[in-house]
């Protein structure tokens, strides 16, 4: 491997620490790669080249002091990464890919961003996404289209589409996204990268623009599991500014994975409800082969059942839209964001600012959420969905009595064609059918590449873990990765 932008985070980190390369060289390689590939892929809403160069030079100064008494480097010092445009970045425009925030310049950093800055990571820019993270294809961005680097007529998946494409196209070594119903895992699967949605509450959501507060969680993407582990351990842990963040120790994930992770004695559960009609044949074959590989490596395979799986999408689209309709009430044209129609008075100003500022899918979800919370419908929809959510949680609790980790496909099929699902919201919602239960149950989940279909598109293996047990997921994923080559196959950026 000769190109610096193709390095994994762990390898780049090693070379930076030994001073074989500088952060400035690495950062320039990524910026040059962005320059060449961005017209094809469209990952970035903003490239912060000047900031990146300055941070890279700072990182090089810190790295030069390695081994001295004042040394304060981390594994991420000097590593160029990029962020979904949902994270508030002080003085760097943050839009959530919405017209309503098109000129919004945050005055503070999200906790995740502050922790990355402190660790010495280099920020390359802000990434495209579905508007307010509502979507499964990145096509709901009000700003631009992002294309799948494996086949440019395909969607990258969503909502964290840019977070997956920037890693797959080697524009950045790693990225962060958010996952409310699959928004990290689905694009990771579609773009052939590793992506983790940690346990609900594992990572602070302070300064992360809210979509559905009981489901939203922040997580990393990288070309390898070990790279993703280094990103996760930098940002995870209790934050006094987010009262829902969990006060539990964060393991040294990368250290605990080590050089020879094993799955010997691990019980891997296979839920039969995830291997049903409608599952693409290539996807099923690749995922079953990956499970077979884990068995060869010493894991025990057990069949488990998650009987309420078929109700998950319906439950999610009530809970998530109800919470979204409430969260998005703040965009009223008063304190920030786009203002329209103030000549006609306050009510019209609210209505016009929101009507003109939000895109079609965001309005659809606000309307649905408002409806299910409105008088006369609350019990039939919202209250009902919260009870079914309990049943879905219990399914997992019972399954985890028999296994340590659950393995499934991440998505029923590989990346679909741009434009093919935009006319049918229900069809689009069903893209998340295999990821959504994990959010409802608050569990950690991850997707890693496990093959290519007959069209040459990546297939994702989803691993689901017990609460706060990201380490078992990472170890399992790393053991699998060490036995195969899928994470080393690169997208070719072809039509």
């Amino acid at each position: 491997m000769s190109r610096l932008d193709e390095l994994s985070i762990e390898e780049a980190s090693r070379r930076l620490a030994s001073r074989e390369i500088s952060s400035r060289e690495l950062t320039e390689a990524c910026l040059a790669r962005i320059e060449v590939t961005e017209p094809k892929v469209g990952s970035f809403l903003e490239v912060t080249a000047q900031l990146a160069r300055q941070q890279a030079d700072d990182a090089d100064r810190r790295l030069a002091a390695t081994g001295t008494r004042t040394s304060d480097t981390t594994a991420l010092t000097g590593i160029p990464i990029a962020l979904k445009d949902i994270f508030l970045t002080k003085d760097v425009r943050t839009t959530c890919a919405s017209r309503i925030l098109e000129n919004f310049i945050p005055t503070f950093d999200a906790t995740v961003v502050a922790r990355l800055r402190r660790a010495g990571a280099v920020l390359l820019g802000k990434l495209n996404m579905d508007e307010f993270a509502m979507g499964s294809s990145c096509e709901n961005s009000a700003m631009q289209l992002t294309r799948n680097p494996w086949k440019l007529d395909r969607v990258p998946g969503g909502s964290s589409g840019g977070s997956a494409t920037c890693v797959a196209a080697h524009q950045a070594l790693g990225s962060f996204g958010t996952d409310t119903g699959g928004s990290i895992r689905l694009p990771a699967a579609f773009c052939g990268v590793a992506g983790i949605k940690p346990t609900y509450g594992r990572v602070s959501r302070y300064g992360v623009i809210a979509f559905a507060s009981s489901l939203d969680q922040v997580g990393p993407m990288a070309s390898t599991t070990r790279g993703a582990a280094l990103l996760l351990q930098t940002v995870a842990g209790k934050d006094p500014l987010d009262s829902t963040s969990i006060d539990a120790p964060v393991p040294d994930y990368a250290g605990a994975i080590g050089t020879a992770p094993t799955v010997k004695g691990l019980r891997i559960g296979i839920p039969r409800e995830y291997f049903v009609e409608g599952l693409d044949a290539d996807v099923e074959a690749a995922v079953r082969a990956a499970i077979g590989k884990l068995q060869d490596l010493g894991a025990t395979i057990v069949e488990v059942t998650l009987p309420h799986t078929e109700y998950a999408v319906a439950t999610y689209y009530i809970v998530a839209t109800a919470e979204a309709s409430s969260n998005l009430g703040r965009y009223d044209g008063v304190r920030y964001g786009r203002r329209r129609g103030e000549e006609q008075g306050l009510r019209d100003m609210y209505g016009e600012s929101r009507e003109q500022g939000f895109g079609a899918e965001v309005k659809r979800r606000i309307m649905l959420g408002t409806y299910v919370l409105s008088a006369g419908y609350y019990d039939a929809y919202y209250s009902k969905a919260m009870r079914v959510r309990t049943l879905i949680r219990r399914d997992f609790e019972q399954a985890f009595e028999r296994c340590d980790v659950i393995a499934t496909p991440t998505a029923p099929a590989t990346a679909f064609e741009i434009g093919s699902r935009t006319d049918d919201p229900l069809k689009m919602y069903l893209s998340d059918i295999l990821t959504i239960s994990v959010n409802l149950a608050g569990l950690p989940g991850m997707s890693i590449p496990c093959g290519l279909d007959s069209a040459g598109l990546p297939i994702g293996l989803q691993l689901i873990g017990k609460p706060l047990d990201e380490l078992t997921l990472l170890r399992t994923a790393a053991a699998y990765e060490d036995s195969c080559h899928w994470h080393r196959v690169s997208a070719e950026l072809k039509p």
């Binding site: 000129n103 919004f104 005055t107 503070f108 609900y200 009981s214 006094p240 009262s243 829902t244 969990i246 078929e310 109700y311 999408v313 319906a314 439950t315 689209y317 009530i318 009430g329 009223d332 044209g333 008063v334 304190r335 920030y336 964001g337 786009r338 203002r339 103030e342 000549e343 006609q344 008075g345 306050l346 019209d348 100003m349 609210y350 209505g351 016009e352 929101r354 009507e355 939000f358 079609a360 309005k363 659809r364 606000i366 309307m367 649905l368 408002t370 409806y371 409105s374 009902k384 969905a385 009870r387 079914v388 959510r389 309990t390 049943l391 919201p425 229900l426 919602y429 409802l440 149950a441």
Partner: protein, 95 residues
């Protein structure tokens, strides 16, 4: 349960969205189909099931009541569409 356009208009008022007539028509169809789909939940008997509003069991967090610098009024107001000093300016609300 079929939705009609008046129902959509009523919800749009609650949601503070000035929908155009074409949007009202489209959302009536879309929401009708989505509600038809989520109606699937009625198959399940949940009468004895406690609702889950949040997956992490937690109590209300308390902190010491200490004086901090708080937010900076200059920066808090920088993104306001219209402002006057440290105030947000809105249209007249009392006729």
């Amino acid at each position: 349960m079929p939705l009609d356009e008046n129902e959509i208009r009523r919800v749009a008022v609650l949601a503070r969205l000035h929908l155009g007539e074409d949007e009202v028509a489209r959302l009536t169809g879309d929401l009708g189909r989505i509600l038809g789909f989520v109606g699937k939940l009625a198959e399940l008997d949940t009468s004895d099931i406690e609702p889950t509003s949040h997956v992490v069991a937690m109590s209300t967090p308390y902190r010491e009541d200490e004086v901090t610098t708080g937010g900076d009024p200059d920066s808090a107001i920088t993104n306001a569409p219209r402002r006057d000093g440290h105030y947000f300016v809105v249209p007249r609300i009392i006729e």
